[in-house]
């Protein structure tokens, strides 16, 4: 997903000289192509994330479109006040690119995990938040990011994400697999697991639809209202704290409809990981495993009317 981002950005930068790429000393083996091709529009600002976002804002307030690329926790949290004031408050065209969604940097430990970034970025006025789930969404959203007006957070994975054929439009939830009996909505890097889970559910007779909420803000409320009005149970799946992310966005919309709907959140509990291991291992220890079994249980519980 990182290389897909870098390639997409390079092809845009060839056509648009307003595009700059800044990094606080991150991007080994990913950003070299851009740096070589556009040396005047590439900056390693040093291990100085606040400086990176501030410089990006100064560029943006002068008509440029700067992308700040680093690991998600450092991109959003070390810099939070620069993101809030320099990017969001001044509504500047800064793009914050956070790599390592969720537990992508699993073995690196909790300093490198990003399980609160969506919540904090969603809470900022003016800030758009996108979290592509596969390579086609990455390409489409990076292309869109050049024309978007205002600041944007782009949350990327790290580890060989797949590519599914489907329509991708900024601000809309994408339908990756059609279905009717329940809606499995994922965001960001959980799309692959949800895709597989939906296929398994179908083989067990549960006609699950696989939806990808690659844009968390502005959020596709229309789609949620439609699901609720059709009485379709919803499962939200995110590699993020259960507070403030996709589950919150879906629930906030669903509650406003005034109708009842069952929603199962599959998310990281409000806890830090102290586990050691790969992304897959930490996901399983932090509540993100066994998706198809849990979704099937959820659907059975609805069928028998239990609460």
């Amino acid at each position: 997903m990182r290389k897909t981002f870098a390639n997409a950005l390079m092809s845009m930068a060839e056509k648009d000289s307003r595009i700059w790429l800044l990094t606080p000393d991150v991007g080994f083996s990913v950003l070299e192509g851009f740096a070589e091709k556009f040396p005047d529009r590439f900056l390693n600002v040093g291990i100085a994330e606040q400086n990176a976002v501030g410089i990006a804002a100064g560029l943006a307030l002068s008509g440029k479109i700067p992308y700040v690329y680093t690991m998600a926790p450092f991109a959003c949290e070390r810099t939070f006040e620069q993101v809030k004031i320099d990017a969001a408050y001044m509504n500047s065209n800064v793009r914050i690119v956070g790599i390592g969604a969720g537990f992508s940097y699993g073995p690196a430990g909790a300093t490198h995990h990003a399980i609160e970034d969506i919540a904090i970025m969603r809470s900022l006025p003016n800030m758009a938040v996108v979290a592509p789930g596969d390579l086609s969404e990455t390409k489409a959203l990076v292309r869109y990011s050049v024309v978007h007006s205002g600041p944007m957070y782009i949350r990327l994975g790290k580890n060989g994400e797949p590519e599914y054929e489907h329509d991708v439009e900024f601000g809309k939830i994408s339908e990756v697999i059609k279905g009717g009996s329940c809606a499995v909505i994922s965001t960001s890097t959980m799309l692959e697991d949800c895709y597989d889970a939906c296929l398994e559910l179908k083989s067990e007779g549960i006609d699950a639809m696989c939806l990808s909420a690659h844009t968390l803000k502005p959020f596709d409320e229309e789609r949620i209202v439609d699901l609720v009005s059709r009485g379709i149970p919803i499962v939200t799946v995110e590699e993020h704290n259960v507070i403030g992310g996709l589950y919150s966005a879906v629930s906030e919309t669903a509650v406003r409809t005034g109708r009842g709907v069952r929603i199962l959140p599959i998310a990281v509990p409000d806890a830090f990981s102290h586990f050691v291991g790969s992304q897959k291992h930490i996901r399983s220890r932090m509540g993100l495993g066994c998706l198809s079994v849990r979704i099937a249980d959820f659907m059975r519980s609805i069928a028998v009317g239990s609460v």
Partner: protein
């Protein structure tokens, strides 16, 4: 050369600032009196900013990073015809348009929002990179030099020699709760800035001609100008007194201050 006419305008600007904080009970008059001469110098003579170009990018830019001194910027813009002077009445009041800390949406000529310290220098660097043919002036407080993000910017300038960038440091020696020298030892600040490849000078921050000369000097490096200033400058009972970081003058203090200014 600046002359008596400029000194008269500055007396009016100082009086406007005093009336603004008197009316609203706002803080930070000391900081504003400290920096207002430098702002006047920049906007009146040095920077290419005027009514015709103020809406676009193709002009010089000014960032008042010590955004709590906003009244100095508002009063300078208003008295130089870059902002409607009636708007000074809209400062810090219900339904007003000019906030205590800078909002770039508030007025043309406010080039950057500011209020939390340490943001201005990196933004100024970005502006200087984006537009190498235009100059960027960024004004920091001496207390603001405590902020780590300021030093991230200075370290960057050790390798990126942006000769169109002018950093002005309003060195009045007092910060929010203490003397600056009792918090951080900045006695070798000039030397330290030189060490990171900034072209550093010191001037009397209330001498308009000295400031102008320093800002017009050439060179290949980013420029740092340490302004030796007096907090509360121009009103004897406010000068070098920490409490005027917070207090606003009452009726009799306003009268006394205006009398001293001769307006």
């Amino acid at each position: 050369m600046f002359d008596e006419n400029d000194r008269n305008v500055l007396r009016t600007i100082r009086a406007d600032m005093l009336r603004m904080v008197h009316r609203t009970h706002a803080s930070h008059i000391g900081s504003a009196l400290s920096v207002v001469d430098a702002l006047y110098c920049i906007y009146s003579r040095v920077a290419d900013i005027n009514k015709d170009n103020i809406r676009g990018f193709d002009r010089d830019r000014v960032i008042l990073s010590k955004g709590h001194a906003s009244i100095a910027l508002y009063a300078v813009l208003a008295n130089l015809g870059l902002m409607d002077k009636a708007r000074l009445e809209e400062y810090y009041s219900d339904g007003g348009t000019l906030p205590a800390h800078l909002d770039m949406n508030a007025a043309e000529g406010v080039d950057c929002s500011a209020g939390s310290l340490g943001h201005g220098l990196p933004i100024a660097i970005g502006m200087a990179l984006a537009n190498p043919k235009r100059r960027v002036f960024v004004i920091l407080g001496d207390g603001e030099m405590d902020e780590g993000s300021v030093w991230e910017g200075i370290l960057f300038l050790s390798k990126h020699h942006l000769s169109n960038l002018h950093i002005l440091i309003d060195f009045n020696g007092l910060q929010g709760s203490d003397k600056v020298c009792d918090v951080v030892d900045f006695s070798r600040l000039g030397e330290i800035l030189q060490g990171f490849s900034l072209d550093c000078k010191e001037v009397d921050g209330h001498d308009l001609n000295q400031i102008e000369d320093a800002l017009r000097a050439g060179g290949d490096m980013a420029h740092a100008l340490i302004l030796r200033t007096v907090k509360g400058k121009g009103v004897s009972f406010m000068e070098n007194r920490l409490e005027w970081h917070y207090k606003s003058p009452d009726d009799s203090q306003l009268d006394a201050a205006l009398k001293e200014l001769g307006v």
